[in-house]
């Protein structure tokens, strides 16, 4: 059994984004597809999933030419896809999201008891037993929703399983469950197409690697033949000298002092201090309470107890607006739900938090605003380069993330909270982000970097705070810390 993609091209209007992709994967193979943001990975897999038609080219499976006119056709052919963006129906239970289209029936009616049993059994079997089948999908954390997405693709065993950045929202044990699952599928002969920006993962999982750059395959290789820095170079079209910037000079005075902060059911007795010009990492497993803490600091929720002081003065923002005026900024973890306004342009999105920054009388000074936005598009290398007037949801995921960062940088924050800012961001762009964050810190800005990426949380920071079940379970100096030390604290071991 082999999957072959031959000469696939795809255009949106007059613009071609895939320029003739060829690739091949055999039975039981894990084929990793890597490439920078906007390279065309998701577009390629949407074609494979029957969700978008190719403009040109052929797909072959098992020696049959596939003619995929709809997702249904792809299902029939045995191709299942987990999309980069979550696609669950939030109002429906996990069971229903999983079994949509194949709910068990008795006497013509859906047998819900059987359905829940079947769904739960499937989740348990896949190692996602933490997800309850009867919960409404919209109430799950992003990580758990991702597990449901994966389970959904495996309701009936596929011949080809396509995973578009499945690990972007997973961490720790969940990630391990996913890898174990992929290996099991591999043993059963399933072809797995795996897209990720985490190259360590790719090296560990893949049998072969295809590198796409600007819609063209630039290399086909294997983990054995290559290493991370070479892959990054292939993806970016240039060598990256180093990933993380140099350490900064010792930090300044305390800017933000959090003392005994608690919020019922979310986190309790959280205390720490952040100094000027410092980058502090915040690590923890899913559900540790990091995002809740961030939202509370940002004035989005009220604490039940404890205090926060900014520059020695009590900080009790009445809402995000007040927090922003006090000099805080928050890049949230869920880009689609709280990061972008999908129906608006890149420009509108970037200018969102600072609309009053350039006014001419009662009106927005559009040339001035345009110039500020253009500056940001250039600084972050947001692609396409002339994207200011495009709807932001036409951008690739990573480029959307860069636009959100740009929005907050324009606000010139004193304390910048980043919640998973490099999720789904390619390596070259991450390097840009790390560099930008470093520049900010050097200019005196304080950064709290929430991340589930162990390497990043140590590499890009000065210090790491670790959260476990809503409490600060440890603090480490990044310079000497190891990944194991951080992980141990996050699961409540060691101290």
């Amino acid at each position: 059994m082999t999957l072959r993609i031959r000469g696939v091209r795809k255009s949106f209007g007059p613009v071609e984004v895939l320029h003739g992709i060829d690739l091949e994967a055999g039975k039981g193979e894990v084929l990793a597809v890597v490439g920078a943001n906007g390279a065309g990975k998701s577009t390629l897999i949407k074609i494979l999933a029957g969700a978008q038609p190719a403009s040109e080219g052929e797909l072959w499976l098992d020696g049959d030419r596939l003619d995929l006119r709809s997702p249904h056709d792809a299902h029939e052919a045995g191709i299942r896809t987990v999309y980069q963006e979550l696609t669950l129906v939030p109002e429906l239970t996990v069971t229903e999201n999983l079994l949509i289209g194949s709910l068990p029936k008795r006497a013509g009616l859906i047998d819900w008891a059987a359905a829940h049993r079947r769904a739960q059994a499937l989740l348990d079997e896949l190692g996602f037993g933490a997800v309850k089948a009867t919960t409404k999908a919209g109430r799950l954390s992003v990580a758990r929703q991702q597990m449901v997405e994966i389970a959904k693709a495996l309701v009936s065993e596929p011949k080809v399983l396509v995973l578009d950045e499945p690990s972007a929202v997973l961490a720790g044990g969940d990630l391990d469950s996913l890898f174990a699952l992929i290996r099991r599928l591999q043993e059963r002969g399933v072809i797995v197409i795996y897209i990720s920006h985490r190259l360590a993962e790719v090296a560990a999982l893949a049998n072969s690697i295809v590198v796409i750059r600007d819609g063209t395959v630039v290399a086909t290789t294997t983990p054995a033949e290559t290493d991370e820095s070479e892959l990054i170079a292939l993806m970016a079209g240039r060598r990256l000298e180093r990933i993380y910037p140099d350490r900064r000079p010792a930090a300044g005075d305390t800017v933000l002092a959090v003392h005994g902060l608690s919020r019922d059911g979310e986190f309790s007795d959280v205390s720490f201090e952040l100094r000027a010009g410092e980058i502090v990492g915040l690590f923890g497993l899913v559900g540790a309470g990091r995002s809740e803490l961030a939202h509370c600091l940002f004035g989005d929720t009220r604490p039940d107890g404890g205090s926060v002081r900014l520059d020695g003065a009590d900080l009790r923002p009445s809402g995000p607006g007040a927090a922003i005026r006090s000099g805080l900024a928050l890049v949230t973890e869920d880009r689609k739900r709280t990061g972008i306004v999908a129906s608006m342009t890149v420009r509108d999105n970037i200018a969102m938090a600072t609309m009053r920054a350039s006014m001419r009388g009662p009106l927005i000074d559009r040339p001035a605003q345009g110039a500020r936005v253009a500056g940001m598009v250039e600084r972050f290398d947001i692609r396409p380069a002339h994207s200011a007037g495009m709807r932001i949801d036409r951008l690739s995921g990573g480029n959307q993330q860069k636009a959100i960062l740009a929005k907050w940088l324009l606000a010139g924050p004193r304390v910048l909270i980043l919640d998973e800012p490099t999720r789904g961001v390619d390596m070259a762009t991450r390097v840009d982000i790390y560099r930008t964050v470093d520049e900010l810190a050097r200019a005196g800005c304080t950064v709290l970097l929430i991340s589930s990426d162990l390497t990043e949380v140590i590499g890009a920071t000065d210090r790491v705070l670790v959260m476990h079940e809503g409490r600060i379970a440890g603090e480490l100096d990044s310079a000497g810390a190891t990944e194991d030390q951080v992980l141990a604290r996050s699961i409540g071991e060691a101290a």
């Binding site: 129906v89 939030p90 109002e91 949509i100 009616l109 859906i110 190692g127 409404k136 720790g172 497993l285």
Partner: protein
């Protein structure tokens, strides 16, 4: 290594435990299970019973049961459409058309057949609405608004003047009683029961709910969105046809001008019952509750002899009070 970190379940859905009851919540939170809604309903009933002596008379309760039938039938169909994130503004006109056609046909056809044709007219209009909306991917609001206009016109074209069939058999459907309960009310309850099961226990019903939640997901799951949209509008049209025939039979005279603004009451019943016009969320039981709330308000004001203009003023204010109570008790955003 996976053994270590399964965090405790984040939040379990509490309703899952009483699965023995027919589960009429079709998406989202069931507002009837919210205390506020029940409180609001009970409050209205107590208010009515305490402040007027006539509320608890058989005559009045029968009226109440009878008067909710039209809005009730329309509301069920509307709910189905709203669940898909759509809307059906044409129902009032369909009521008029179905009524006048069936009354007109009584002269030539056996009564049951005449009534059936009336209902079928509703089926047909719903089908056309659905085909236009799904087939051409048009905005439901405009299509059904256009249908509202066209179908109203057709009702008048069919007969400019009211039609009152001579045959008293025509009145049976609308006026028959089963014990103290009007047969039309039983029909309406039947529609809600069967309709509840349809939405919660059949693949087509679930597809309709899911379409409103995320139509792309449904498409990606290989389920035909178009087919189910057509089905939803056809159901709404059918309910409207049925409502029209029952109303004509109850009044004894079919008027081409009947049913103006009925769609607003039907939508209001759904929304008071917690349905979201953005689709995917709504409850069959709560919609019935919404119908009851609207009927109770009218009944209460009438029993008190509140003068018409003040009735309107108060009706609006009471509706707002009801939804504030409901919202408060729900806590989070509906």
């Amino acid at each position: 290594m996976t053994s270590q970190t399964a965090p405790p379940p984040v939040e379990d859905d509490r309703r899952t435990s009483r699965r023995q009851l027919p589960r009429l919540v079709v998406g989202g939170r069931d507002v009837t299970s919210g205390v506020g809604f029940v409180v609001a309903l009970v409050l209205l009933v107590v208010l009515a019973a305490v402040t007027t002596e006539n509320f608890l008379t058989e005559q009045n309760l029968t009226n109440l049961l009878r008067q909710m039938v039209t809005v009730g039938l329309l509301a069920y169909g509307m709910l189905v459409v709203i669940l898909t994130a759509g809307i059906d503004l044409s129902v009032g006109s369909v009521v008029a058309f179905s009524g006048i056609v069936s009354a007109g046909l009584v002269a030539d056809l056996p009564i049951p057949l005449a009534l059936t044709v009336g209902v079928l007219a509703g089926v047909g209009f719903g089908l056309v609405n659905g085909l236009l909306i799904a087939g051409f991917d048009l905005a439901p609001f405009v299509v059904t608004l256009a249908a509202l206009t066209t179908i109203r016109g057709l009702a008048f074209v069919y007969s400019e003047v009211p039609i009152a069939p001579e045959d008293p058999g025509f009145f049976t459907l609308g006026t028959a009683l089963a014990g103290p309960i009007p047969v039309p009310t039983l029909i309406m309850v039947g529609v809600f029961l069967v309709g509840g099961i349809f939405l919660t226990r059949t693949p087509a019903g679930r597809a309709i709910v899911a379409i409103g939640g995320n139509r792309e997901t449904v498409r990606l799951a290989g389920i035909s969105v178009k087919k189910h949209l057509v089905l939803a509008y056809t159901i709404s049209g059918t309910c409207a046809g049925l409502a029209g025939v029952i109303l004509a039979s109850r009044v004894g005279i079919a008027q081409p001008s009947v049913g103006v603004a009925f769609e607003l009451d039907a939508i209001a019943a759904c929304v008071i019952g917690g349905a979201s016009l953005a689709g995917g969320r709504g409850s069959v039981r709560a919609t019935l509750g919404g119908v009851l709330v609207l009927s109770l308000i009218n009944n209460l004001l009438n029993l008190h002899g509140v003068q018409s203009f003040w009735q309107q003023v108060l009706k609006g204010l009471i509706i707002i009070a009801v939804i504030i109570v409901q919202r408060r008790s729900m806590g989070e955003r509906a």
